[in-house]
Symmetry: C2
Subunit: 413 residues, 2 copies
């Protein structure tokens, strides 16, 4: 294990849960957990200055190896002193390994599916747009061959190349190279893929050269209990600094909870656990309850750019996803803030009518203010969750949020 | 004259110039002049939070009546408490009258011309794209009929409507409705238009009902000395709170200087003078020297979005326009800040290589950082100009900038 990295468990919540408070220490500072890490795919959390991200209280962020590999290139990031210096972000950074793109550009693209279940209407859409959905990735024992979505050029990623790139990028936490299998994959395919992912885990460990970076192993195995149990046993017996749980997480959120329950209790208490690419409100509660320490997800930032601002479900105007869709005409004359109880810069200073105007006019400031608000929303929720774990009220807080959602979705249309 | 508005001349520079230091007082605070006002066309300076604009030291801004009239509509801005509250900007705001669009959507669109001279290649382009360049505005004695560039809907602007809209918007300084004639217009047309603009000036004064807003008259007359002199005499004898000089400003910058020299010496010393839509570095010096107090221009913000960052001409990599074009490949590996001597947030924290990556990837943060830098550049230059007027070194400062430009443009390619 790296001397530069450690996880300290402060307090276990008990009450039949795996929930816990803890702290991850890295060369760029600490992360009090459980925590949500905003995603900055291309070395920028879209629309925010790093100083704004700091002011919002973000303790860390996640960046994407595959995307940075294509733009601007890992050589350039390394030449500029690594990700932290390149993007002027002084706190911890995690990079993924590019393995998820083996899924999202390969099978997921071909079959129109996400990490949990199938995109609505994906099938019909795919038939109509066969070329659009041609898989851009092929997997073999060595690794993955991608075609760049930018210019069609061919690139290979494998454990050695992924780790090398992640060393060039210089994140505090890097991830083993894996295959994220599809929810549409068979048991047989998933089992075979898992064996290969385990061989890739060993190759990732062997490839790593920099002690100042922590390396997480990734648990795969799809929606099958025996495969997940096999994976967690294999991976946690290797000298990784922490563990990430990768998709496919099954066909429903219920399946995802099962995956967490099959794996986390078998993990050691002195290492952190990350849930990859998941971050809706109920996911955070269910994940924390089952022992997850960190989350990452593009939803808050992507939603912000499509004018979906995250709010508690009981906020007037909220839809079933817990957002206000500010482009909608209903907000044209609405002088209230997005969330009257939110104390972010956006809610303290601007009306829904102004935000609607910005989104309708495609003004940059709409995305900026929306992102400020959505990241604030996520980090505030995680602070509340940490406080509830400390003072024993976690289940009250969870019930409050889930009941709000229930009432919203069954009270009115 | 409004009791809410005044101009105080602090100090005249002398040395054969009309340059002066002064202060404009408005209900939303003061503007130390000479000063540059950033443009926030749609009630947002594209990419910046109002708090960032304040931190940059912007003393005021200009917003566009015509654009706000179409989006979101003046009724909505009024309903939301006016521009200041709508966009959360606490300092002075000026609105134009929409008269400029009578030019830019009419004759300028038809003939491919700007306020000074003709756009390069405009003629050929126009022949190829006749429909694109169909005029969208028609002028008669009453006012202008526009077709919305958004949906083709018809709208009328005239002095009464323009003043009413500007009262709904609630800026501190509003402008009389005028016709901005084309540099391609004949003496006869310009003379006839001027008479009409003068009748519109009277109608604008009569239409105004709100004492808390200052109304500026606009001097027109194209590139003809007798028309400009006639205009300045007519307009300055009306009870306006200040004066703006409108284009056409002739066929070259030399013509523009002449226009300033024919008009400003005839203006009273107790009222402010604004030069509409002009703001390149040499224009600021020439304008200040000839007695201009405030400028507005979209160049700094528009340039920022096309990766053109304003720098002193002697900065390594600067082109003939005094910008670094950060999209260019030459900056791929450049770890220097945009301007090593600049102390803006962008230059203190980011390399040219990072900015190039953001611009190439079309990341929002590129435009945000570029705009922060360019507005800082403009406001810093204006602070330097004010300091040079106070301590008698204005001509040294001007010579320094013009010599840098000269050396840049004739030293290397």
């Amino acid at each position: 294990m790296s001397n530069y990295f450690s996880y300290t468990e402060h307090q276990r919540f008990g009450q039949g849960t795996e929930a816990r408070l803890g702290r991850i220490d890295t060369p760029h500072g600490s992360i009090e957990t459980p925590e949500f890490l905003p995603v900055g795919t291309l070395a920028t959390v879209k629309g925010l200055l790093p100083s704004q991200l700091e002011e919002l209280g973000a303790q860390g962020m996640l960046s994407n190896t595959y995307h940075l590999f294509l733009r601007p290139g890992a050589d350039i990031v390394e030449e500029m002193g690594g990700l932290h210096k390149f993007m002027n972000w002084k706190r911890p950074v995690m990079t993924d390994s590019g393995g998820f793109q083996a899924f999202s550009l390969g099978a997921a693209r071909q079959h129109g599916i996400g990490k949990i279940g199938v995109f609505p209407g994906a099938g019909a859409d795919m038939v109509a747009h066969k070329d659009t959905y041609k898989p851009l990735a092929k997997i073999d024992e060595d690794g993955v061959v991608f075609r760049s979505f930018l210019d069609g050029s061919k690139h290979r990623l494998n454990p050695e190349i992924s780790i090398h790139i992640q060393e060039q990028l210089g994140a505090d936490i890097i991830l083993a190279f894996d295959e994220c299998t599809s929810p549409a994959a068979s048991y047989e395919y998933t089992a075979k893929s898992l064996e290969r992912t385990h061989r890739w885990a060993l190759r990732s460990l062997n490839a790593k050269t920099k002690p100042q970076q922590a390396l997480y192993g990734i648990i795969q195995g799809g929606e099958w209990q025996d495969l997940r149990e096999k994976s967690v046993e294999f991976i946690t017996n290797l000298p990784f600094d922490g563990f990430a749980i990768g998709g496919s997480l099954g066909k429903s959120k219920h399946d995802m909870h099962k995956v967490l329950e099959w794996t986390i209790p078998a993990m050691p208490h002195d290492k952190p656990r990350h849930l990859l690419g998941i971050g809706e409100v109920d996911d955070l509660f269910e994940g924390v309850q089952r022992g997850i320490d960190t989350f990452d997800c593009v939803i808050p930032t992507r939603f912000a750019r499509t004018s979906n601002l995250l709010v508690p479900y009981d906020v007037d105007g909220a839809n079933k996803r817990g957002t206000l869709v500010l482009r909608n005409a209903e907000f044209t004359h609405d002088e209230r803030p997005v969330d009257p109880n939110c104390d972010c810069y956006c809610c303290r200073n601007f009306s829904r009518a102004y935000l609607r105007h910005l989104y309708k006019s495609e003004e940059i400031l709409g995305s900026v203010l929306g992102t400020l608000h959505n990241i604030h929303f996520m980090l505030k929720l995680m602070r509340d969750i940490r406080a509830s774990l400390a003072n024993g009220t976690f289940f009250e807080l969870k019930r409050h949020w889930l009941e709000m959602k229930e009432e919203r979705n069954h009270g009115q249309s």
